[in-house]
């Protein structure tokens, strides 16, 4: 199946899910869309089904990483060659899906990351920017490649990457920098391409309250243990 599978992880995204799907269909009609409803308590699933696309209901609220992994497992079972993940909150511009897909079918790299910092029009709060820079530097140092936006969730994968991510070693809560490091250590090639991203909508983000503290801690730990593990995981 050469058509890519677009997976949209969505948790309580009733405000955005329909427009995200419509945006994807407008700018990239040659794809299958799978909405991963991560135990939403609002009308996300109903609205998504209303658009006629495939919706997978997860039986419990799983968190971002586990939800995405379910999408990869679906892709693997149904023999998709490529998967592109687009967040359900409308932050990722569907117009950029094609950029990622074109890069994927060149078959030079296994993972394509959409970076918001190539076109310098994305505004982030200072602390978050600092954190992103720090992790970008760390990822660069460990993998010997430069990353401008390793925390971006706008990514595309080929089958080789999908196969790896279906294993239990896939990090379940915040698959960002540690995933990049794990992937390069497993021999996958990663490339960044410029994409457009809108600033996060006003509502509560995945990174609010004490979450950033846990995030930084988890990332450091996860990177450290990744380096301690055998390469051929």
């Amino acid at each position: 199946m050469k058509k890519p599978l677009i997976i949209i992880p969505a948790f309580n995204e009733e405000e955005h899910v329909v427009s995200v799907i419509a945006g994807i269909r407008d700018s990239f009609p040659e794809c299958e869309i799978l909405v991963l409803n991560d135990g939403s308590t609002d009308r996300t699933a109903i609205l998504a089904r209303g658009t006629g696309c495939l919706v997978m209901d997860l039986p419990i609220h799983f968190g971002y990483g586990n939800t995405l992994q379910t999408g990869y497992k679906y892709a693997l079972q149904n023999d998709y060659e490529y998967v592109i993940q687009v967040d359900g909150d409308g932050q990722h511009d569907p117009g950029s899906i094609e950029v990622i897909f074109k890069e994927l079918i060149k078959a030079e790299c296994d993972i394509i990351i959409g970076s918001r910092f190539f076109n310098n029009n994305y505004k982030t709060p200072f602390l978050r920017k600092l954190g992103m820079r720090l992790f970008a530097k760390m990822a660069g140092m460990i993998t010997n490649e430069a990353f401008s936006d390793p925390t971006s969730g706008f990514r595309g994968f080929n089958k080789k990457a999908i196969k790896l991510y279906c294993k239990d070693l896939y990090p379940s809560d915040f698959p960002d920098v540690d995933l990049i490091i794990m992937s390069t250590r497993c021999g996958l090639k990663i490339k960044e391409v410029p994409v457009n991203m809108r600033p996060a909508s006003g509502r509560k983000s995945m990174h609010s309250g004490l979450r950033p503290v846990y995030y930084v801690f988890k990332m450091f730990l996860s990177i450290a243990v990744n380096l301690l593990r055998n390469k051929d995981i």
């Binding site: 699933a45 109903i46 997978m56 209901d57 997860l58 419990i60 586990n66």
Partner: protein
Amino acid sequence: MTPRQKMFAILACVFLIVIIIDLVRRRKLREEFSWLWLMAGAVIMILSIWDSLLISFAKFIGIETPVSAILFFAIVFIFSIALHFSIKISSLTNQIKNLAQEIALCKIKCGKGADDKDRK
């Protein structure tokens, strides 16, 4: 150890062992979790009966009083059982994740997801 301390320690151990065995008998506690508790009970019992063993061991590791040595071992035991549970919970979490993913994948395969929602 004074005879009173000894008596109390032995009684507490007997009580613990009886409760654990009864829990296993009534299938409230799985065998795989009971062995650590039973072992702890047995060790405290042995050390309370032959307190000379405890005293020489306490001296060997540099603890002044045998009672402190018992408390130290109790804390070590509680830490190890808590760690054991954390490991177990981690593996259970992973198993639940895989099961739930499997359910979601099966549901979409049978087209059941849509049906269920329609019924609601």
